[in-house]
């Protein structure tokens, strides 16, 4: 199979590539609509991939990019519309049609298996065999040779027998690309391929993309980093909230136009902050030059004034959550100083943070938010017990009376909807679980509360309750930091917004200055 591919490649590189552009589409999606029960994920989207081009798919989180790609891979069936591959029309792609037409997806979460070699990764599930005395045996020699050819082609200087676990992330990504190339992919879809790469690694990836492009392959490049889009793309299709905005040649675009198309939605909802309010100089929390040991956020400094809510915007992985983990003591710092209400902090673990009066409402409720086998009551009392106990939170007895009082107090304050606080927390809805987590921290009398994606997976009604609560906390003089990927959320609740890009602070806006365009721009440049 590979030999065939190599022959084809040679034919292409000998001068035909210019003609390849704007020949028949490799794949085409016409007027695609996808409805899930209750929501329309995509409506009226057109998308096509030409040989020898990089077609960028641009849109915010939740714009419908992955849904569209899942129809290409055959995972989803379009509700309306036509799929075309090599001139043939289909009502939908099955995974098999997708594979037969050379469509290959490289997901953000790489699927390379660490325990086996590069060549085994490339041929996993499709091992080449040879017959020896009538018995099929694995043909390692041929696989090795072919792997070597593909690796040479994309410029990965590793031997085929190298264990994948020894490779760096970008190298693993190249193994995935090699896999696509080895099986003669015509359309290679890369889902946010640069999200975990350094600038140098990105440049190398772009070289490979360029090479693949010259071989007549169609590349779909999913990203929301505008500079990259401008650098690598030939055409761009923009999606916004499932709507098809349009497909344009990159040459007619600039970053401003792209931002406007991506976020040009109306923002509805009430603003909880007063943009003209002057908070004075009463600084309750200050962070100076925080750099994590793993460098996932670097040189971060900011101040929080009394009464203010400070928001943190940026792409997933830009270092916002990472910073909060460092402040909370859940990740070690290389450098950094913190002051809370005039006292210098020395925080080595979450227990220290709790003692100092810092609370973190984590992003991932189920994994880090609550104790799953505990009742609502037991969860609510947890932080208070720990804070009041000595020796690492190990001393002290259970106090049923206090437990009951605290539970009822927080149940009322947070408006937790439950039959009794003796119910197991897992019986509650996501919104109510979040309220229990909040109640837990409130019972420990915190001075600073960090909210990381506080309304993720929470219904609209509970969302607004949580926003009001955050505002009420700020008014009481408790510091509030909010990390969120939902821009309307930040714009309607925060007095100031810090924007992160690639582990660094890349802008700070007052609520007067902040617009979605400004935030996206700071996050993507």
């Amino acid at each position: 199979m590979l030999g065939l591919f190599l022959k084809k490649r040679n034919a292409l590189t000998s001068g035909q590539k210019e003609k390849m552009v704007h020949m028949n589409s490799l794949v085409e999606m016409r007027n695609i609509t996808k409805k899930f029960p209750g929501v329309t994920a995509l409506s009226g989207v057109n998308f096509d991939v030409q040989p020898g081009e990089v077609h960028v798919l641009l849109g915010e989180n939740g714009a419908g990019k992955s849904t569209l790609m899942k129809m290409l891979s055959g995972a989803y069936e379009p509700t309306e519309g036509t799929m075309v591959a090599n001139g043939k029309e289909f009502p939908r792609f099955t995974p098999r049609i997708s594979q037969e037409n050379g469509i290959s997806i490289i997901y953000q979460e790489l699927s390379v298996i660490d325990e086996i070699s590069i060549q085994e990764n490339i041929f996993v599930g499709k091992l080449l065999t040879k017959k020896v005395a009538g018995i099929s045996l694995v043909d390692n020699a041929t696989m090795k040779q072919r792997t070597q050819e593909v690796l040479d082609e994309i410029g990965l200087k590793r031997s085929p027998g190298t264990r994948a676990g020894q490779l760096s992330i970008p190298e693993k990504q190249m193994v995935e690309i090699a896999k696509a190339v080895a099986f003669d992919a015509k359309v290679i879809i890369m889902d946010e391929p640069t999200s975990s790469l350094t600038t140098e690694e990105i440049n190398h990836l772009f070289e490979i993309v360029d090479r693949l492009k010259k071989q007549g392959k169609g590349i779909v490049f999913i990203s929301h980093k505008l500079d990259e889009v401008m650098a690598i793309g030939d055409r761009v299709t923009v999606l916004k909230d499932g709507q098809y905005i349009g497909t344009y040649p990159i040459s007619e675009m600039n970053e401003d136009k792209l931002v406007t198309m991506m976020v040009g939605r109306e923002i509805k909802g009430t603003y909880l902050q007063d943009p003209n309010r002057d908070y004075g100089d009463d600084i309750i929390f200050e962070a100076k030059d925080i750099t994590r040991k793993d460098n996932r956020c670097r040189n971060i400094s900011f101040q929080l004034k009394r009464g203010e809510i400070l928001g943190f915007s940026g792409l997933v992985g830009a270092g916002r959550t990472e910073l909060m983990e460092a402040i909370f003591g859940a990740a070690p710092m290389k450098t950094g100083e913190m002051t809370l209400l005039g006292e210098k902090l020395n925080i080595k673990c979450p227990y220290d943070a709790l003692k100092a009066g810092i609370a973190l409402v984590t992003e991932n409720r189920r994994v880090t938010g609550f104790s799953p086998f505990f009742s609502i009551k037991q969860n609510l009392i947890q932080a208070k017990y720990l804070k009041e106990s000595k020796f690492g939170g190990m001393t002290g007895l259970i106090n049923k009376k206090m437990e009951q009082e605290v539970a009822e107090e927080q149940r009322a304050a947070m408006q937790i909807k439950c039959a009794t606080t003796n119910q197991t927390i897992t019986e509650l809805s996501g919104g109510n679980q979040q309220k229990v987590i909040l109640g837990k921290w409130m019972a420990s009398d915190p001075k600073l509360i960090i909210f990381d994606e506080p309304t993720k997976g929470i219904d609209v009604g509970t969302k607004s309750e949580i926003y009001k609560l955050m505002r009420a906390l700020a008014e009481r003089g408790i510091g509030v930091l909010v990390v969120s990927s939902e821009m309307p959320e930040l714009l309607s609740t925060c007095d100031r917004i810090v924007v992160f890009s690639d582990g660094k602070k890349n802008g700070e806006f007052t609520s007067l200055e902040a617009t979605e365009e400004a935030l996206v721009r700071a996050a993507t440049t």
Binding site: G369, S371, F374, G392, G393, T395, G396, Q404, A419
Partner: protein
């Protein structure tokens, strides 16, 4: 308040009853079965005293093992710890130490140190407790043979033997008194103290416990210290009953301990379980061993019965307990 709790009291389902009483039900069932099979030999005060006495070592080991399992881990080294501390205690008495001091140092303190070694290794390496205690099981056993020259150590004070191995008021075997005192302390610890509560949180979900501010390593260390002390106390009871410290004592007993905890309804994945049921679990093991003996089956069959019971208990728990967690 009481009115409110009454109105919203959820209806109990079969799975609720099962999760509360399954262990007791198994014990009762076993007693009925053996009483029916061999009423003459099985149903006597003497035999019950014997069962209880034999069970005490299993109960002590199981109480410690519970703290390995509640973390979602395990402690495979309890049997070796039992043998090692028995030899240490016997050597101290042989060297002329008064029994009380020998017990305080050779059993309580030494057991805590051994447990702390397990806990610290797990904390330092971040390896699963299974790996670490599999290693220390062999290491502690090796030290036991070296220290004892692979011979049984005699010279245990008769006063100690008569007290620890004797009967309270001439009726109740002292070993079971010790086991029950330990169990009561641990029941108090797990249900009434904050550290106990924290351990459940840690076993149920280590990352949420960490993010809630629980000092996970300290609590983990404490669990293995408790396990070490319990195993040492089992070692003490054992040398008192035998009158000498055997270097190969307790070989394979970790299986009994783990079985007791699991039959006692504790979750192998951590975070769920109660100490009093583990005590019942230990008794069940004792009843099975004794009952099969009485019925006249060889110890080979006992092994089969034990294994089948473990699988059955956990299967039933999965089956009936499943509707509860969703």
């Amino acid at each position: 308040m009481s009115k409110q709790t009454q109105t919203v009291k959820p209806k109990k389902t079969f799975s609720d009853y099962w999760s509360s009483y399954s262990t007791v039900a198994i014990l009762v069932l076993m007693l009925i079965v053996f009483s029916a099979l061999k009423p003459s030999a099985f149903l006597s005060t003497n035999n019950f005293v014997k069962i209880i006495e034999q069970s005490s070592i299993t109960i002590l080991l199981a109480c410690g093992e519970f703290f390995g399992i509640i973390l979602g881990g395990i402690d495979l080294s309890v049997s070796s710890t039992m043998a090692l501390s028995g030899v240490v205690c016997a050597k101290l008495m042989l060297a002329g130490w008064p029994p009380v001091l020998a017990v305080l140092v050779g059993i309580i303190l030494f057991g805590a140190v051994v447990g702390a070694i397990n806990g610290s290794l797990i904390n330092l390496t971040n390896l699963p407790p299974f790996i670490i205690t599999l290693g220390t099981q062999a290491i502690f056993r090796g030290f036991t043979y070296i220290l004892s020259d692979a011979r049984s150590v005699s010279g245990i004070s008769t006063g100690f033997m008569q007290f620890v191995g004797g009967k309270l008021g001439g009726v109740v075997p002292m070993p079971i008194v010790i086991a029950l005192i330990v169990a009561l302390i641990l029941i108090f610890f797990t249900t009434k103290t904050r550290a106990g509560r924290n351990i459940y949180a840690l076993g149920g979900n280590p990352s949420s416990a960490y993010y809630a501010g629980i000092t996970t390593k300290r609590h983990q260390l404490l669990c293995f210290v408790i396990s070490g002390v319990c195993a040492s106390l089992a070692g003490m009871v054992n040398i008192a009953r035998l009158g000498s410290a055997e270097p190969n004592a307790g070989t394979g007993y970790e299986t009994y301990a783990i079985a007791s905890v699991i039959i006692g309804g504790a979750s192998f994945f951590g975070g769920q379980g109660v100490v009093w049921k583990v005590v019942i679990g230990g008794l069940i093991i004792g009843v099975i061993n004794n009952g099969l003996n009485m019925v006249g089956l060889s110890s080979y069959y006992q092994q089969i019965a034990m294994g089948a019971l473990i699988i059955l208990a956990v299967t039933l728990d999965r089956f009936f307990g499943a509707s509860k967690d969703k």
